[in-house]
Symmetry: C2
Subunit: 150 residues, 2 copies
């Protein structure tokens, strides 16, 4: 097996070709990681979540890490890591265009809304109507490794 560093362009192509990865954030000095669906366009990661502890954590410390991999076999895989900063896209005039862009890009995935829809329903039942939080991640570094059989 030969492991090589991927170019930034190859990493970005891989990020663009996928829409599922694992996002790590911080809760104080404790790490937290969860799977997310995202869209990568124009050098930015777009995603959304219902309000909750994950969003609270990223508002306090915007440092995040998105990692995704494709494993064909133990000797044939690639893994890309994007480190960057969380930036919320609030429902205000200033952010309307960017927010609509995120919504438009994300909703192209089949059933993209399902988990959010559940949470929204639950919040409504509890008389606590809630709205999704859209956000983007500005990349500060992107790197990747590719393994190929000898």
């Amino acid at each position: 097996m030969i492991i090589s560093e991927m170019t930034k362009e190859a990493c970005e192509d891989f990020l663009s070709s996928k829409n599922f990865g694992h996002l790590a954030c911080l809760n104080g000095d404790r790490p937290y990681v969860l799977p997310i669906h995202y869209v990568f366009k124009g050098g930015l990661v777009y995603s959304f979540a219902m309000p909750g502890s994950k969003i609270d954590h990223m508002r306090v410390n915007p440092n995040v890490c998105l990692q995704l991999e494709e494993i064909t076999s133990d000797q044939d895989w690639l893994s890309v890591v994007l480190q960057g900063r969380y930036q919320e896209l609030p429902d205000t005039e200033q952010w309307r265009t960017e927010r609509m862009y995120a919504w438009s890009a994300l909703q192209q995935r089949p059933n993209w809304w399902e988990p959010g829809a559940y949470d929204a329903r639950r919040h409504e039942i509890g008389d606590q109507p809630s709205h999704p939080v859209f956000y983007r991640i500005q990349a500060e570094s992107i790197s990747g490794k590719r393994a190929e059989p000898n």
Copy 2:
């Protein structure tokens, strides 16, 4: 879709049935996440890695988070999160039994050694022989959610 909390027992059964997940650790106030192979036995996660930045980070801050999921469809999935502390299993008399236990459990996976073997070879070529670092994670909390179609 109905989302329910999993019992601790169901979470542990799921952890035992899998050997691949995503581990988050901290580099200062920045999160880092990477895929790992592991074995979960007796309430402990066992894994190993070649010396490097990940190991360095966990030695400084042993707080880690392991997450794994199984996604059958957008409405049928489960996700388990284990938060705990990194604990190294050094090659000393005191830790020999535990270290051998980890090695024995981990090497039951086919090709489990491949990435480490590559790194070991590279280190040897560079006249810097290196050995894998075995570690375990002591769980402080385990939780999980299961989604099922209505």
